[in-house]
Amino acid sequence: MSQGFHLVVCGSIVPDPLQTLEPIQGAEGPALKNEMMLPAVLDPWAGHALYEAAHLAAATPDSKVWLVSLGPRAKLQQLMMTIAPKAAFELVALDGPAGGFTEAWETAEALAECIKTIPGLDRSRLLLFGGCASASRDAGVTMQMVGERLEISDQFLAVDELTPQENGTIRILERIEAGRYQVSECAGPPLVAAWATGRLPEPPNNAQLGMQNMRSIMPALQKAQPARVGAEGVEFLEVEVPKQRRNTRVVEDASVDEMAREIVEWIRK
């Protein structure tokens, strides 16, 4: 292949799932209690997308990765301290809310407009990556809408593998029902890949890479444009986090069969 890929990954923060996530009614609609004070992590779906993109870029000469992040600038800065040493990328930051109560349509609009303005981005070589869902609000539609706004019609959802072929085409595995994959072959970029978990583990830390990334990340954060996203016109009737039921018993001598039977009974109930 004569030219590498231009990989744009859309990904931002979600509250650390270990924290207490308590929905409350804020002045401007629903919110999470103390959300700005909670530690945040990279949305795990977007994380898979970023690591796949970095891996692909490293294996494909003349490729480059941009991470487009929409979130509160100060929280994004904290996030970068964790991910900068893991993958080579250039940050493009948008300063705005990243909670689970923004409307996917507005988020997609802001992301698409931002991507259009990335200097040096060749949209004919664009692989637009992101998560197929989000840990903050599983709308599952954002990437498709970003793709539409960028006029990319080849869109693949719940991707677990993306392999460039020698003839220039790209082979893609998408998750479908019953634990099976749908295998597609795409003529080439541009395309949208909304990733499921992918196949790669979280990359190890590379402090030197982190230092190198941070040289462009800090200016990018300073230049972050405000993005007006919210949920205009949307009325939230009810908001709640998924309920957990914990009935813990400590049993040390149960057989696997007994455990399986008990789990099935519990599910049936």
Binding site: D16, L18, Q19, T20, L21, E22, K33, N34, M36, M37, L38, P39, P72, R73, A74, K75, Q78, M80, M81, T82, A84, P85, P204, N205, N206, A207, Q208, G210, M211, M214, M218
Partner: protein, 759 residues
């Protein structure tokens, strides 16, 4: 309309406003990275922020899993424990202490960087921190005093290989401590020896090193050892530190693992070395004078330079334990009764559990306040050494060029004392009123600046090591007690029981408490330090004027009392006429050192609070919670200031009065009335006899007297002290209200749903 109507409405409005204000000012979530970065002054250092995140992931991932799986239950260095070393390498921790030219990634001095890393690891397990820091300790002598060739050789071997590079990472051990009765507390008494094995004319001498070590960290796998040895040969002068390799000819016996009860994720052995090594392995090199090999640095000089930095890191390891205990204790307290048949969700028993009881909250406030104070003190010291490193290097260079060593160097430094004192005075004078030219001149003089900072460093380092670990261990016992029976089990969330034991080792290794007290007893009386101290009193008063409620005024009053006591003890004698403040009189000097540490920690905690207040608004993520954090940390400062003042007052009173002889009934001239003196007087001054019996001591005609040890002590000559002491007691006003407020916050603060590391 009723005339009461509008008034009632106004009343309701103001109540609503007050409620909102109270909510705003409450501690809403546990302080996160944004708060810590400001408090500990690395908000602008993304290299350090990244390092913290990387080490945290390591600590709360592989390290925590290992502890939870019971890896601490063996003395031996197992394959499982050895796997940690690879994790250190992969996280970037191994290269954190190296300069970029040798494969590191943090520019400049790395005291704060290493302190933060040790803090993060100790949040979960102190042994892993010791293990991670041990190679840095082994490299310490080389870093501080090694030749450029030695630095390049060993630093670059101790970092992970770069892509495409094939080599094994070297690990080091630092061997100073020897089997009893040799080097331990007294680092000068060495039994390890070095002799000339072969020395041909014009060739490099070959040395025979004999050394037995005790409690040597990293010994199970170290590829090299920096060992302290004394000359055992008239052709070698004095002592030195020397580098030994595992493949040097002779015996490199790693020895038996130490059966230690703590820090089991670090390897500790009692090794034996009998090796032939070239003289070029002497750390810092050597010269040959009149046929005698003279090391450029003796071992004491090298370890002093090393320990003054690494001891700060150890102090922070205990601070991390205290702060890490807060969340598990809150979770335990709240969940204590959940699951009981009669405990309904929503009831106070269900939601607050033990937190309904004031005592457990107050005790947790004390633990948290101590943790904040010790972290504040430790990180301040680490930052100071980062600033100080280049200044000290400059001083070393200048003195080396001038050929000044040992006493000659001390003599030269003594000359700098006067300008250093002048600088401190000018620095405290408002810019408009001071001699600007002279101030700039002194500020630009790096030797003067060395004196100015060295005086503080010489106090802060032992203070951190002593107070953070010693008092920290005491407070960890409190933390264990707050977890009930759970606290002393391996299942205790947050590994609090293990941390308590680990803290005791931290109070011991790298110089036990007595060594630190001894050092403080000398350094805290140096004029340059005392000049700083006087300025700090004024600084605390200014802070108190601006920010009442922080406890700054209390700290200032306690500092004045300490200073008065020090002056008094320096001049006073005990009842037997023996001078009090003397090197060997540790009953006097050591408590004064202890008292000082409380003050230094409390002062730094207050300064950190001011930094949070000043820089917090710059961070948008903090906007929502900042008022609550500031209010809560203000209360913690106040609580800690009161504890510090209490300790200082108690210790100073004991020392000031404790060496006087108590008046006795039998002594001649006892300071009391005799009944037969009073009776005649009563005729002239009716009522004086009764009055005297009410207010003072009277010996009756039959020799009987009030039932007590003797006449009450007379405070003549001590008015200044008693007045300051009385004032200090009054300064505690409000401290318990602050504790109550902080305790209330603990019942409301949001904690994570589950711990972020396995237990």
């Amino acid at each position: 309309m009723s005339p009461d109507g509008p008034r009632m409405k106004r009343g309701r409005e103001s109540m609503t406003t007050a409620k909102t204000q109270t909510e705003k000012m409450a501690l809403r979530a546990l302080p996160g990275d944004e708060v810590r970065q400001i408090l500990w002054r690395f908000a602008d250092r993304y290299d350090l922020q990244m390092a913290v995140q990387a080490v945290r992931a390591l600590a709360r991932g592989p390290v925590a899993r290992m502890v939870a799986d019971g890896a601490r239950n063996s003395h031996e260095w197992t394959d499982e424990k050895a796997a940690l070393l690879n994790e250190f390498d992969a996280s970037g921790l191994t290269a954190l202490g190296m300069d970029p030219e040798f494969g590191g990634y943090v520019e400049g001095p790395k005291n704060l960087a290493l302190a933060l890393a040790a803090f993060e690891l100790s949040w979960v397990d102190g042994g892993s921190a010791t293990s991670a820091m041990a190679t840095n300790l082994a490299l310490g002598p080389i870093h501080e005093r090694g030749t450029p060739e030695q630095q390049k050789t060993y630093m670059s071997r101790c970092v992970p290989p770069q892509p495409g590079e094939k080599r094994t990472i070297w690990r080091g051990a630092f061997a100073l401590t020897e089997p009893l009765p040799y080097v331990g507390v007294n680092t000068r008494v060495l039994s390890g020896g070095v002799r000339v094995a072969k020395w041909k004319e014009g060739e490099e001498p070959l040395l025979q090193v004999e050394k037995r070590g005790r409690f040597i960290t990293n010994m199970a796998f170290a590829n090299f050892v920096t060992a302290a040895v004394d000359s055992d040969d008239e052709r070698i002068k004095g002592s030195c530190m020397i580098i030994l390799h595992e493949d040097d000819p002779g015996v490199f016996d790693r020895g038996a693992p130490t059966r230690k009860l703590v820090h089991q994720l670090s390897s500790t052995n009692d090794p034996i070395f009998s090796l032939k090594v070239p003289a070029s392995r002497i750390v810092g090199g050597f010269k040959v004078r009149d046929g005698v090999l003279v090391p450029n640095y003796d071992h004491a000089e090298i370890i002093a330079a090393v320990f003054r930095r690494t001891r700060v890191t150890v102090g922070l390891m205990t601070a991390a334990k205290l702060l890490s205990a807060v969340e598990p204790i809150i979770r335990y307290q709240r969940g204590r009764y959940r699951g009981g048949k009669t405990i309904e969700p929503g009831s106070a028993f269900h939601e607050l559990g033990l937190q309904q009881k004031e005592d457990v909250l107050h005790r947790l406030v004390d633990i948290w306040a101590s943790g904040e104070a010790s972290a504040a003190l430790g990180f301040a010291a680490a930052r100071l050494f980062d600033e100080f490193d280049p200044i000290e290097k400059h001083k070393d260079k200048v003195f080396e060029e001038r050929g000044l060593k040992g006493r000659a160097q001390l003599k030269e430094l003594k000359k700098l004392e006067k300008p250093a004192l002048e600088y401190i005075e000018l620095a405290a004078t408002p810019a408009a009123k001071r001699d600007a030219k002279r101030f700039e001149e002194l500020e630009a003089d790096r030797l003067v600046q060395f004196m100015v900072q060295d005086a503080v460093a010489n106090v802060l380092c032992p203070a951190v090591k002593l107070w953070n670990t010693g008092q920290g261990t005491n407070m960890m016992r409190e933390a264990v007690s707050l977890m009930g029976g759970y606290g002393i089990t391996e299942d205790c969330p947050g590994f609090i029981g293990q941390k308590w034991m680990d803290a005791q080792l931290e109070a011991t290794y790298e110089g036990p408490e007595a060594v630190q007290r001894r050092q403080l007893a000398i350094t805290m009386t140096q004029p340059v330090f005392l000049a700083h101290f006087r300025q700090w009193i004024a600084e605390m008063r200014r802070v108190a004027g601006r920010r009442p409620g922080t406890g700054a005024c209390t700290v200032a009053s306690a500092m004045e009392l300490w200073l008065w006591t020090l002056r008094h003890l320096s001049e006073a004698e005990d009842a037997d006429g023996t001078p009090l403040y003397r090197d060997k009189r540790q009953g006097v000097t050591f408590p004064m050192a202890d008292a000082l540490c409380w003050l230094l920690a409390s002062r730094q905690q207050i300064l950190d609070l001011l930094e949070l207040e000043r820089r917090g608004p710059e961070n948008e993520a903090l906007a929502e919670g900042l008022p609550g954090y500031v209010r809560f940390f203000t209360d913690l400062c106040h609580v800690q200031a009161a504890r510090a003042a209490g300790e200082v007052g108690r210790l100073c009173s004991e020392l000031v009065f404790g060496y006087n002889r108590h008046p006795s009934w039998e002594a001649e001239g006892a300071s009391c009335y005799q009944a037969d003196e009073l009776e005649p007087l009563d005729g002239f001054i009716p009522g004086i006899a009764a009055c005297a019996r009410s207010f003072t001591d009277v010996v009756e005609a039959d020799g009987s007297h009030p039932q007590k040890a003797g006449p009450c002590v007379c405070f003549t000559g001590m008015e200044a002290f008693t007045s300051m002491r009385r004032k200090l007691d009054g300064c505690l006003t409000g401290a318990r209200m602050a504790k109550d407020r902080a305790a209330r916050d603990l019942t409301q603060v949001m904690i994570p749903e589950v711990p972020d590391y396995p237990t």
